[in-house]
Symmetry: D3
Subunit: 241 residues, 6 copies
Amino acid sequence: MSEPTLSPETRELLETVSVATLATALYKRGLRNQVIQDVRPVARKGRNMVGPAFTLRYMPAREDRNQLVEFRNPKHPQRHAIETCPPGHVMVMDSRKCAKAASAGDILITRLMMRGAAGVVTDGGFRDAMNIGELEMPAYHNRPSSPTNLTTNEAIEINGPIGCGDAPVFPGDIVVGDDDSVIIIPAEIADEVAREAVDMTAFEDFVLSRVKSGASIIGLYPATMDANLEEFARWRTENAR
Amino acid sequence: MSEPTLSPETRELLETVSVATLATALYKRGLRNQVIQDVRPVARKGRNMVGPAFTLRYMPAREDRNQLVEFRNPKHPQRHAIETCPPGHVMVMDSRKCAKAASAGDILITRLMMRGAAGVVTDGGFRDAMNIGELEMPAYHNRPSSPTNLTTNEAIEINGPIGCGDAPVFPGDIVVGDDDSVIIIPAEIADEVAREAVDMTAFEDFVLSRVKSGASIIGLYPATMDANLEEFARWRTENAR
Amino acid sequence: MSEPTLSPETRELLETVSVATLATALYKRGLRNQVIQDVRPVARKGRNMVGPAFTLRYMPAREDRNQLVEFRNPKHPQRHAIETCPPGHVMVMDSRKCAKAASAGDILITRLMMRGAAGVVTDGGFRDAMNIGELEMPAYHNRPSSPTNLTTNEAIEINGPIGCGDAPVFPGDIVVGDDDSVIIIPAEIADEVAREAVDMTAFEDFVLSRVKSGASIIGLYPATMDANLEEFARWRTENAR
Amino acid sequence: MSEPTLSPETRELLETVSVATLATALYKRGLRNQVIQDVRPVARKGRNMVGPAFTLRYMPAREDRNQLVEFRNPKHPQRHAIETCPPGHVMVMDSRKCAKAASAGDILITRLMMRGAAGVVTDGGFRDAMNIGELEMPAYHNRPSSPTNLTTNEAIEINGPIGCGDAPVFPGDIVVGDDDSVIIIPAEIADEVAREAVDMTAFEDFVLSRVKSGASIIGLYPATMDANLEEFARWRTENAR
Amino acid sequence: MSEPTLSPETRELLETVSVATLATALYKRGLRNQVIQDVRPVARKGRNMVGPAFTLRYMPAREDRNQLVEFRNPKHPQRHAIETCPPGHVMVMDSRKCAKAASAGDILITRLMMRGAAGVVTDGGFRDAMNIGELEMPAYHNRPSSPTNLTTNEAIEINGPIGCGDAPVFPGDIVVGDDDSVIIIPAEIADEVAREAVDMTAFEDFVLSRVKSGASIIGLYPATMDANLEEFARWRTENAR
Amino acid sequence: MSEPTLSPETRELLETVSVATLATALYKRGLRNQVIQDVRPVARKGRNMVGPAFTLRYMPAREDRNQLVEFRNPKHPQRHAIETCPPGHVMVMDSRKCAKAASAGDILITRLMMRGAAGVVTDGGFRDAMNIGELEMPAYHNRPSSPTNLTTNEAIEINGPIGCGDAPVFPGDIVVGDDDSVIIIPAEIADEVAREAVDMTAFEDFVLSRVKSGASIIGLYPATMDANLEEFARWRTENAR
């Protein structure tokens, strides 16, 4: 599981497509469970979060191992993860879909942003969410959760394979988030999926413009009538898509 | 179950009352479960959605029946429903309270709006919710859901009786949504309930104005003291309610 | 369980700290479950709600005891609670974590505000939430819920010990809510916790300013390096914290 | 809320009817929520549990108030409740539908039996359930739960009105449990409901005997054909029902 | 959707294989969701239930349409379904995964058995479950549920496509239940799946006999070592499988 | 995290105490979450399961990585785990509390038993549960689950730290299961906890014998009256406890 790279070209393409379109592109390949279920932006950013996954896994906290003193350990996995997540990556946290206590708070998430991360996702909740929402870096969670993460979470593994919101996440998989949700693209197919999604987006934009002009979706979406395919070809040329 | 009609007068009345007030009017008639549970506006509109219900029922998707190619069928029930929902109606989708995959996306919902529908409700989730929220037509769901609807939903029946968010919905029942939630009024009693709710709203507005002036609710809400009923009569005259 | 008082000094301190910080201060004392789970502001206020708890307990409604006529009783516990909650207090409602029907609506909550309450919390939902959100007084709930409270809730006890969102609440405990969530501080330790939280907040603000300047969290948060403690001392002086 | 009495005659009648039949009798009176949801016998007894409700309410445990030392207090509400529940009564525990920690264990439940109680119900779980199931006294819960009750439960009130499994329970209401589930009959109507349920049971037994002989349910259940009513009259005479 | 037939040969084969084996056979064909989730035998029968599906769909009950008097209608869909389910079929009920009120009781289920049905499944609960469990005909549900079905369920459609426990069910699909759970086999592939499952069962029985003799599963299950395939061939001959 | 050992003495002691008693012993040490929530015996054994934990972690299955062909890999983690779990150990599976698909089936569990394992626990479900329940080796799960584990589970890690039913489990921790549930004892304190639990059990047995003779629990449980402590001392001598 060596770290794949995300080419600048693919990153740029992925910034222009929606999670919904990517979900359909993966569905075509038999992948049905790549959208992280039941997470949302802490605050909407109006732009995509894109980057390779850098993962952190939490397990249920055992009280004797999770006193506040633990954070004094410079190698505490939660803090160590924050300090080692590579720039441009998205930190993805497996919090066992439990938002009863925090996955992290604003100090750690701000540090993550300062270190150049592209974003952060947890299937639990962030404390200080009101502050995290105001950061420039996108963050996604289930809901605000103010109790310290020690209450229920022990950070146990950095950058291994995890589940997040019932989606499988391998380190280096490409994470894309928009104002609706977050999806995980297997690293091996990120380039081709990105290109395909850009084409699909062009078609969807064409369809939407036609629908807004009063066209029926029958024969247009999908384009079972040849006339619509020809019109789409013209539209692409005219709109440089 | 012939299609009842919604008179322009009743529609107008229903645009001026809240779902909460309607819920109480139905409660008086022994109807306790008409509010669709756990749906919310994709985006708040500051006005009511009103119209007769046109329903669509989803069942769990069987993989061999739900490949992308299905959408090429011009009679595919999901697309056919969108193209046959009468103007002024609200499309209500029974998605079995499951938001793991989409009930529909922005292209279909935009088409529904272009065809003159009054709104759309699902007890699942919409993909492209960020776009659907910006449409003029109101839409209600549980939460954004980006996976294509084929992942878990097969549209199986148009305009039959359904459940939506644990509420019973018959085609032609009157649907009213405000910035809080959505309620189903049985078609047969929509006119009388609308009139009663307008009266109740007048009284509630009167009470609220009195409460804001410092009045106690005891004897006022409900108006067990005659003085309050007399004052309400004056208030109605003065305020042309 | 005599009514403790909240000193003006402590109230002022608690207006300046976050629920997250208070949660950590209570965690140090072995209290892990004081944050009310899964409630949120009806509308964000940008300031803290602070006050002693005045409680109301609901039990499941039995239909013969919960017809609309019950509200004509001037001693109906729900209305009586609204009219007896002392100024400056926060009304906390145990709605058994059920938002299928309302805990209260805008008329009652407005009256509560007019009587000088500091806020209101339910682990169910409010009807007329769109109006309650516009009141100056903060309100917290799970989600909007339009059905009248009689549908599932009977108000049964005023100002006894309750659970709210799985947190234990005793009358007179100090309630603090921010734009993320709500916490319950046992009355006996409110003063010391408030002071400690103010100190913790100063340190967190210092850390955040350092992190925003590019500092690593290792050695800083917590401050295991002496240099950071010295810098913090200087920062406090310079910033009059 | 003075303690009503359960006459020996009514107790005897209630020992011969099922919870299902009682639920229908209450449904006729507009009471739809009297069955305690999602509890089951710790072990099936093949006979009914019948008795007036004696209630115990738990609230979420606050750690500083719920150390093992608390049990040394002879007036600790949990132990005090066990020692004061009147003979012939059923102890009903409001455990907030949470089985993460125990509502009680075998020592307390054995003591309750020795004191002559008719049974015990919790909407949480019992520890030592394997032993409790072997007692002669019936017990109902959600599932076995081994953690000590202090972990999440503080006994806070004896014999007040409570919710149990979403059913409203007032002290003195009549509790009936069979091998399927448990129902709460309001004390005021227990006598008439018991008599009616006995008649209904006779009819159901008659119907079942006819169905087992090959009869259709149409016209028989309910008995819309007069011939069936006449036959039922004969059957009652012949079978001394 | 004409009614397919189940040949006596296929029925016989399906009586000898487990739901688990059938689930794997369907998994090979891309069908992942055919097991009805979270239902169990009312009582274990030690033999399989097999038959084509005859479906009944419930919607949420509207109070004015669901009084006890409704059952006097000889065409009431619930009773009509019981009286029209063909012999040898399994009645499958879509109760919207809600066991708060009954899907049916012992009188109806006994009548269904007398009419020759092969079994019954609901994703809700049965009342009189203690009696239904003693019938010879297999029955599956989520849990006992004593309230009359009118409380939350209105029978609305007979023999249409439904969901049951998140599995898609079309009339005529082949239903197989064992002591663990229930699966739905699409009618078109029932014959081939039955034959394949019988072969798979033979292999699994062979493997189990070898494992019980101490063999490792590596190379044996699946049989990647040729020796094991040869041994299996011998075993089939010797055991007439 | 080197493998701790379980002494024969401690194993023997742990075979004589209940999970409930162990839970209280751990509660005294501040450990509140060591009972695995919501698992139960596949079939009751009437004796304890005891052994050090050998763990297996599942993550959500990605379809392209989880076809049946994967099982041909002799190093597939699920099969490899079965073949490497040391004799006397309990295999504990983190199935993310999801029983929609199996954690394992009877062939693998039988092999595990043949290799000398002391038992197996999953917070998901077993397929072929009806067969697994008949094995001599104890097994615990949430409920039977017939779909092949590939449907939702990919075995990803052997013998790392995991969560199981919200309890933290480290390899080598001591697992004890009785007919009610399963608990995890941190390896470091297993010896002392075992000894303490044996003493507690003696006292509980003494108390139970006294309660069955009619004694009150006040002053006896806990033994705040000296007379009871003296009587207990005599009882221990007489009963050789």
